[in-house]
């Protein structure tokens, strides 16, 4: 916030210095314009035709002798020419929580858009730390040399049975460092969400240095890292160059590299943490992910040390990674009493079905695609979870064994719009039960511990009884689960 204010001050300063008399002239006011068609010289009271920013989001300009005000959806910015204009929130797409430097132009998107010219304030745009990120700082406070560039990796789009061709994408928030020939670190920063980075450093003239990208997100808003099976961060280094060189230092990790998928794993963590932020989670706990090509570890999450292990062939398996991150969310921000062990989707202990099914729901909800996909050579396997029904039995009790697929299917039905099912839901509504009710259930019904019954109880506690009819159609009609609709939220009619 402090930086946003600073940036706004910079913006405002630039706008003020660029103000001109109406008509754009630099005369003494233009009061001698006697044309009958000309607007009164001071009709706009000094507001220029090219506009000026009056606040972070308000733009005024003189149009046909009248002042027009525009409320910007993103921010009001002033160009080097002095002209002001509105930019939309779309400029934040490549910024991220730590801001971005483009030369000495600082862009921050902390709640709103703020774009400022650091140089106009005698400062430079540079990385400060992993909490604040990029900011306008005094030149004397950073290294004298500067290197910038873009870090990317090759994604492979996941679809049922298919991994798409390699496609370069930015390493959002990725850690970047500058190292000397002895592997000593001269500077460490985080890339913006468009993969761009700026590092300031000091090094002896002519020293050979190199830029290295790491499979880690250092931002406190996205604390995640990906290590190999031995516990080493994956890293990819560029060619050495002479310190002080100004050419951009761009890096691209190929999908064919032995460590290429590490950045895909990291990107899934970034996605999951941004999703958590959007659900109101203020402080994120670090997650330590482990992936190595060829490793046969299986894929699982361990709450004791927040470690998330992905099998060697799951590097591009976004759904598997997000499913495991769903377990991380259960561990830190929701709850599960999953007894664990091997499982294959067939009816199982309802606490396991909740633990696994709700983790799968997290993956489906984040992607907004109702498919669980586990890709491997030969295509792997997948299951569609919107139209398919893994029903329970109305003859069984509320504590009967159920399929984890049914839990995921039912939760996704409460998340997506009505159409394929009776419930017109949203991620927010389902997420409210997952994040708010499940950690502190008002009653333990069904099997002792957290299971689907607690989710349904929570639905009515959080959202009232207005949805009784559509939920009954969903739970009894579609899934044949004998929920009694008499939970702590009330008794459905």
């Amino acid at each position: 916030m402090r930086l946003a204010i600073l940036a706004l001050l910079l913006t405002g300063g630039a706008a003020c210095s660029a103000q001109k008399a109406p008509g754009g002239g630099d005369d003494d006011g233009g009061g001698d314009d006697t044309s009958p068609d000309a607007p009164p010289a001071d009709a706009c009271a000094g507001v220029p035709a090219e506009g000026t920013c009056t606040s972070a989001t308000d733009l005024v300009r003189c149009v046909d002798g009248a002042v027009q005000t525009e409320a910007c959806t993103g921010a009001c910015i002033t160009a080097a020419t002095g002209a002001a204009s509105c930019v939309g929130i779309e400029v934040c797409a490549g910024v991220g929580p730590l801001g971005r430097c483009d030369g000495d132009t600082l862009t921050r998107c902390d709640g709103g858009v703020a774009i400022g010219d650091c140089a106009a304030a005698g400062k430079t745009c540079a990385y400060t730390d992993d909490a604040v990120g990029y900011a306008c700082v005094a030149p004397a406070s950073v290294g004298k040399l500067r290197v910038a560039g873009t870090i990317r990796w090759e994604d492979r789009k996941l679809e049922p049975g298919v991994l798409g061709p390699p496609e370069p994408v930015p390493a959002r928030g990725g850690m970047v460092a500058l190292l000397d020939g002895a592997d000593a670190t001269l500077a460490t920063v985080s890339a913006a969400d468009d993969g761009t980075y700026v590092m300031h450093y000091d090094a002896p003239a002519g020293a050979q240095v190199r830029v290295v990208m790491y499979s880690r997100s250092r931002a406190t808003a996205r604390p995640a890292r990906v290590r190999d099976a031995q516990g080493y961060l994956h890293a990819f280094g560029g060619a050495p160059f002479a310190a002080g060189a100004t050419a951009p230092q761009d890096l691209l990790v190929k999908a064919s590299a032995t460590n290429g998928a590490a950045w895909n794993v990291l990107d899934n963590a970034v996605t999951a943490m941004d999703w958590l932020k959007a659900r109101g989670v203020a402080t994120l706990v670090p997650v330590y992910m482990y992936w190595q090509l060829g490793a046969r570890t299986g894929s699982y999450y361990q709450g004791a040390d927040n470690s998330l292990h992905l099998d060697g062939d799951d590097g591009y398996d976004d759904v598997v990674a997000l499913h495991e991150l769903g377990h991380y969310m259960q561990d830190e921000y929701s709850a599960s009493d999953n007894p664990g062990g091997a499982h294959d989707g067939s009816p199982a202990d309802p606490r396991l079905a909740w633990g696994e099914g709700s983790a799968t729901w997290v993956a489906l909800a984040i992607r907004n695609v109702p498919y669980y996909i586990d890709y491997s050579a030969g295509g792997g396997w997948w299951v569609e979870l919107e139209n398919r029904v893994h029903a329970a039995s109305m003859a069984g009790g509320m504590s009967q064994n159920i399929s984890e697929w049914m839990v995921a299917e039912l939760m996704f039905d409460t998340t997506d719009p009505a159409g394929e099912d009776s419930v017109d839901g949203s991620v927010e509504e389902t997420g409210k039960v997952f994040f708010d009710y499940i950690p502190r259930p008002a009653a333990a019904r069904g099997r002792p511990g957290i299971d689907l019954v607690e989710f349904l109880d929570g639905w009515f506690v959080e959202h009232g009884l207005a949805s009784c009819a559509v939920m009954r159609e969903l739970v009894h009609g579609k899934y044949k689960f004998p929920y009694d609709f008499k939970g702590p939220g009330g008794v459905c009619p």
Binding site: A177, D183, T185, T188, V212, Y214, R216, R225, D228, Q230, G231, Y232, L233, H234, A235, F236, G237, G238, A239, A257, T258, N259, R296, T297, G298, S299, Y300, H309, D311, D313, D314, V320, H323, E324, H327, N338, G340, G341, A342, H343, D344, G345, S346, G355, E356, A359, Y372, D374, S376, A377, G378, G379, G380, W381, V383, R388, H390, S403, E404, W405
Partner: protein
Amino acid sequence: MRALWAVLALCACQGAARDEELIVHAETAPAAASCKPEAPVAVVLDARPVGGDAYAVTVRATPSRDVAALELGLVLPPGATVRGAERAAFGATASGASRTIVVTVQTAGPRAGQLTVVARVPVEGIAMSRTAEVTLGTPEPPPRTRSYRTADGELAMEVRP
């Protein structure tokens, strides 16, 4: 002449020993620690060099629960061919019962390639699969790497282009 025979005999023995050492093996099974849903079947894959860039391949799949069907298939390295059935479909298979296929895979040359076996079993109406994979031929040299500690002490393994 006796010395020459001795040398030939030694070479033959060494050749046989090398072949044994070159058997490549892979196996996967439902992991107790794994929390992702997994196909309830264990797969073992052995590939034994038989000369001329060919391999005798044995695949054994053993479901860990009764399954209505079991299918085995091979994904060959580029340019490779197979003598024998590349795919085999078995009927209902009881938990613990094994299904086996034996084939010969002829690779296109000594350069490495991945041979993968895919075992598919239906569970809850879903064709779940498990793979096992071996490298046939001479593996690619590992990438150039260097390891060190980052500024905050974390270990890193850097791949160089």
